[in-house]
């Protein structure tokens, strides 16, 4: 699983190169790629538009990555959640652990608004 990262001011936007599921068979590669790209960045937006589906392993990985960023005083925000992913967030109610925005620009702007 390949990820890209793009700077929007001091916000790091991270997304998937190609559509993929964030499920048990892919979470280890996803987490490794995310951590190697994001390293010390504190303001991070994860673009989920190319994540077709998510399972409990994927949810756990997002929670752990959010805590990994938060442990350094940063914050991970989510953007562009697809319908199957939104369904899983709603069922588990884990959307409460994240700030989730409709699109990447809104998520980036949310950091700038509080700068």
């Amino acid at each position: 699983m390949k990820l890209w990262m793009q700077d929007e001011g001091d916000v790091a936007v991270v997304g998937l190169d190609a559509s993929a599921d964030l499920m048990a068979d892919g979470v280890a590669a996803f987490r490794a790629a995310f951590e190697s790209l994001v390293t010390e960045r504190l303001r991070v937006v994860l673009d989920l538009s190319r994540v077709d589906g998510i399972d409990s392993s994927g949810l756990g990985t997002l929670v752990n990555l959010s805590r990994w960023v938060a442990a350094r005083g940063g914050e991970l925000r989510l953007a562009a959640v697809s319908r199957p992913v939104e369904m899983v967030f709603e069922i588990t109610r884990l959307y409460r652990l994240f700030e989730i925005y409709g699109g990447v620009p809104e998520a980036v702007a949310s950091f700038e608004a509080r700068a």
Binding site: D21, M23, A24, D25, G53, D55, S56, S57, L59, G60, V63, R83, P84, M87, V88, I91, T92, R93, L94, R96, L97
Partner: protein
């Protein structure tokens, strides 16, 4: 199929094709893919503890509901030890079975076979899906 995480993608695509072929809509197809993924992940990680082993997956459709039966020969699943996650406190673990139960109509564990566990997953076609199927 072999109980390996790298076989999950194939299994999700397979059940997605089966569900679409009998008339489930896009959201229900995603539900089937999620449910089978969670079922198989539990078997790979817990029944076989990551050591691999055989998993048999079969599906049938009676015109109203699709059923997927998943059988393994690993450690038996103890449903009495399962506690659903506490949604009020946003607990982090234990969502696999909970998700299966929420997106399907029935999830049944049977530990009466000589070895392992037989898991039966059932979901009915929705009204709109059944209507479309009748008119197609």
């Amino acid at each position: 199929m072999e109980a390996r995480l790298d076989r999950l993608g194939h299994a999700r695509r397979w059940v997605g094709r089966q569900a679409a072929a009998v008339g489930f809509d896009e959201e229900a197809v995603a539900a089937w893919q999620l449910a089978l993924d969670e079922a198989l992940t539990n078997i790979i990680r817990h029944a076989y503890e990551g050591r691999g082993g055989p998993i048999r997956v079969e599906t049938d459709f009676d015109g109203e509901r699709m059923r997927v039966v998943v059988e393994d020969e690993g450690l038996r699943f103890d449903l009495s030890a399962y506690a659903p996650p506490d949604l009020e406190t946003a607990s982090i673990g234990g969502y696999g079975i909970f998700l299966m139960q929420r997106v399907l109509d029935d999830v049944a564990y049977d530990t009466s076979p000589p070895k392992g566990t037989r898991l039966t997953l059932v979901k009915r076609l929705g009204r709109s899906e059944a209507r479309e199927k009748d008119t197609s």
